[in-house]
């Protein structure tokens, strides 16, 4: 068991784990009830899934130029995906989408849709 083999296995394992997180985020995006909870699910896929896959690919690539490009990509993901999530949440709030609260039950989502038919 050389260092090379350990690196390859660790990298492959991290890529599989990242794929699992992407899948979890996508399932959450499909099943969550309103925009803000969906944003929460999407940020799981954007930060944890992408970060884990990119670190795994870095391990497989080794100390090469490809790893530097992967580091740039990971930095970009880590900086820009929270910014995009923040901008989306603020824009949705500005446009009058109401967050669904526990007291309102399922009625809140329906009325929020009724109030803004133009955003469909």
């Amino acid at each position: 068991m050389t260092v090379e083999m350990i690196r390859q296995w660790l990298g492959g394992g991290l890529v599989v784990v990242g794929g699992g997180f992407m899948l979890i985020g996508a399932i959450g995006l499909l099943r969550m009830p309103d925009v803000f909870t969906r944003l929460h699910a999407a940020s799981v896929a954007d930060t944890l899934g992408a970060g884990s896959i990119l670190v795994g690919l870095m391990l497989i690539a080794g100390p090469t130029l490809v790893a530097v490009k992967l580091i740039f990509l990971a930095l970009f993901f880590g900086l820009m995906s929270p910014v995009a999530t923040h901008a989306l949440a603020r824009a949705a709030l500005h446009a009058g989408v109401k967050p669904q609260l526990a007291e309102d039950g399922a009625i809140a989502a329906a009325t929020a849709e009724e109030a803004r038919p133009s955003t469909r």
Partner: protein
């Protein structure tokens, strides 16, 4: 082998994201799905490069990441102001 498994997982996630982008009641649901879809496309590009032993696709992935974020912000700005050339205004 493990790379292929990760790639399959990301592809399945892509299918679910496309479903949300097609269904999603408000435009913001579609935008969230589209943003995550762009990120999934970059990851598919990166893993495919390693699968075929040609990781040169990563340059395209970098450019696509920047275009993805700019596209999201452009659509958000268009929704808010109705025009992309709007200079913006101070928050109240």
């Amino acid at each position: 082998m493990m790379l292929a498994a990760g790639m399959l997982a990301v592809l399945a996630a892509t299918a679910l994201l496309v479903a949300r982008a097609a269904v999603g009641p408000t435009v913001f649901d579609r935008l969230v799905a589209a943003n995550t879809l762009g990120n999934a496309a970059i990851l598919i590009l990166a893993i495919y490069g390693f699968l075929t032993d040609r990781p040169e696709f990563l340059d395209i992935g970098l450019v696509y990441a920047m275009l993805n974020i700019i596209g999201t912000f452009a659509v958000l700005k268009f929704l808010r102001f109705g025009a992309l050339g709007h200079a913006g205004e101070e928050e109240p």
